[in-house]
């Protein structure tokens, strides 16, 4: 799905989080929102997912205005920073949650739900953990379960907030490839937030560098990883990449 962000701004009370930003994300792309904390990248992601409403501006999905769509209507597969798995449910029930939450008319029968959960567990290469609880999983396993749960609703896009933030370096490397593979298999337009430039450069097709200031976060440069490395557009980008 093609996503267009048109002059979106956001302020929380008197604090500006985003100055008007515009960005076009081609269908099927894997995009990184890269920037230091306070640059508004998570806010932008949450606006895409419908968890925050913008103060001004529009969001368009496939050319249609989606600004007023509720979080449920957006059908965005969202992976949260600390994964936000339902702690009182098994892995199976976590992944099945979105399917069971559907209105009766479009809810798949139980056997079909079970089949789909099994398939997703295979996709994340953890076929045997369905009966376990989130507290019994390692950090890397939790991240993959969160990914499977987001994919279960057959989302129109995948949004990930610092998906590797809580993991150690070795697991992080493995899971990067895992996300790349899942993106390539599903063909979903994917946006992830990170403050780690290696992660952004290695994984994404398109990198959006953002910076923060008292007037709110803004976009410094949009481009392919190699172009941004070769030709930083602003002093901020040069400094941020050099650091």
């Amino acid at each position: 799905m093609h996503i267009e962000i048109d002059e979106i701004s956001k302020s929380f009370g008197t604090t500006a989080a985003l100055t008007p930003v515009s960005l076009a994300i081609p269908s099927g792309a894997l995009v990184a929102l890269l920037g230091p904390s306070g640059s508004g990248k998570t806010t932008l992601l949450r606006i895409l997912g419908g968890l925050e409403y913008p103060t001004s501006g529009r969001v368009l999905f496939d050319g249609q205005d989606a600004t007023g769509l509720t979080v449920q209507q957006r059908r965005a597969g969202f992976v949260f920073q600390s994964y936000a798995l339902f702690r009182h449910m098994t892995v199976f029930d976590n992944i099945a949650y979105g399917l069971k939450a559907r209105p009766r008319a479009s809810r798949p029968p139980g056997a079909e739900i079970a089949r789909r959960v099994t398939r997703l567990l295979d996709l994340i290469q953890l076929p045997d953990i369905g009966a376990r609880y989130p507290s019994q999983l390692s950090g890397g396993q939790r991240q993959r379960v969160a990914l499977a749960r987001a994919l279960a609703i057959e989302p129109r896009m995948l949004l990930l907030d610092e998906p590797f933030g809580a993991l150690d370096a070795k697991v992080r490397k493995e899971l990067r490839q895992g996300l790349r593979d899942i993106h390539d298999t599903t063909g979903l337009t994917t946006v992830f937030v990170t403050h780690d430039q290696d992660e952004a450069m290695e994984l994404a097709d398109l990198v959006v560098v953002m910076s923060g200031s008292t007037t709110g976060g803004k976009i410094e440069q949009i481009g392919k990883p190699q172009d941004i490395r070769a030709r930083p557009a602003t002093a901020f980008v040069r400094e941020f990449l050099g650091a």
């Binding site: 449920q72 965005a76 936000a84 702690r87 009182h88 949650y97 979105g98 939450a101």
Partner: protein, 286 residues
């Protein structure tokens, strides 16, 4: 640590003598302030034998008091559970101006004397007020009747549920609810399948405390009930009336029943604490 040298001691630990003295002091205080009075209540109740005690309980006055107290708790506690959950949900899941004021308001019944609460109810809903007069004319007086007693009990016990829930819900954050919403769940479904299971033990704990207090409330009820014997006298009120009339067996027997109801609550609470220590850890602020 049996294999540690006899002289070795953790830095935070006191010498055996100090430790024993402290434990002894606590035991003496507990015995004098808590245990002895309780034993006295049961001793006085049973002084003239089991039959005497049971006979006083079978009197219409005592039966009516027990029935009234249980009725008040059965109405006030569920309502306060609902209001408490709503207040905690509102305070922890949304950001809005005046949150601190609302938190203080919730705590108000803790800091205001119950007698004042009772007076407030009388002054607001008494027969010579607009609402109170209307209700009296309609045949449903609020003050000196069941609605007033329920109202006063609810005000006094309002903070218990919300106060138990707020720290737990703050600690759990909003991420799981947000996840449920992104997965397509409605607000109500999210509450039912994600929020409620996560707070169930804290909620039960709050409800138990609320119940104990609702059944034991004296000050506010004394003012609004009018202490009409056999009609608006709850267990604590009846105990006081019996005691003032030197009917000590009847007074202490009813007191023993009230204490037993308290023990039941405490027992349940302890049982839950042992079984669900982790879930309750965040709510232990008393």
């Amino acid at each position: 640590m049996s294999d540690a040298p006899a002289t070795w001691r953790p830095a935070t630990e006191e010498t055996p003598l100090v430790r024993r003295l402290l434990i002894a002091a606590v035991l003496v205080v507990l015995a004098l302030l808590l245990f002895a009075p309780l034993v006295a209540v049961f001793y006085e109740a049973l002084r003239k034998g089991w039959w005497q005690a049971i006979a006083t309980l079978a009197k219409p006055e005592a039966l009516s008091a027990i029935r009234l107290t249980v009725t008040v708790a059965a109405i006030a506690v569920p309502l306060n559970a609902v209001f408490g959950v709503a207040a905690a949900w509102f305070i922890t899941k949304y950001d809005f101006r005046g949150k601190a004021v609302l938190l203080t308001l919730i705590d108000l019944p803790f800091s205001v004397s119950p007698v004042v609460v009772g007076l407030c109810v009388v002054l607001t809903f008494g027969a010579n007020t607009w609402v109170g007069g209307l209700m009296v004319n309609a045949g449903y007086p609020i003050v000196f009747a069941l609605p007033g007693i329920v109202l006063a009990s609810m005000i006094v016990t309002f903070p218990f549920v919300a106060r138990e829930l707020i720290p737990v819900m703050v600690e759990q954050g909003r991420a799981e609810e947000e996840a449920a919403l992104t997965l397509g769940a409605s607000g109500w479904r999210t509450f039912r399948t994600v929020t409620l299971p996560n707070i169930r033990w804290a909620l039960l704990y709050g409800v138990l405390l609320c119940n104990a207090r609702a059944m034991g409330e004296f000050g506010a009820v004394a003012v609004v009930s009018g202490k009409i014997r056999g009609q608006t006298a709850t267990m604590p009120i009846t105990i006081e009336m019996l005691y003032n009339e030197y009917l000590s067996v009847a007074a202490f027997t009813l007191a023993a029943v009230l204490a037993l109801l308290g023990f039941l609550t405490l027992g349940l609470k302890t049982f839950l604490e042992i079984r669900h220590a982790d879930a309750l850890a965040a709510s232990r602020r008393h």
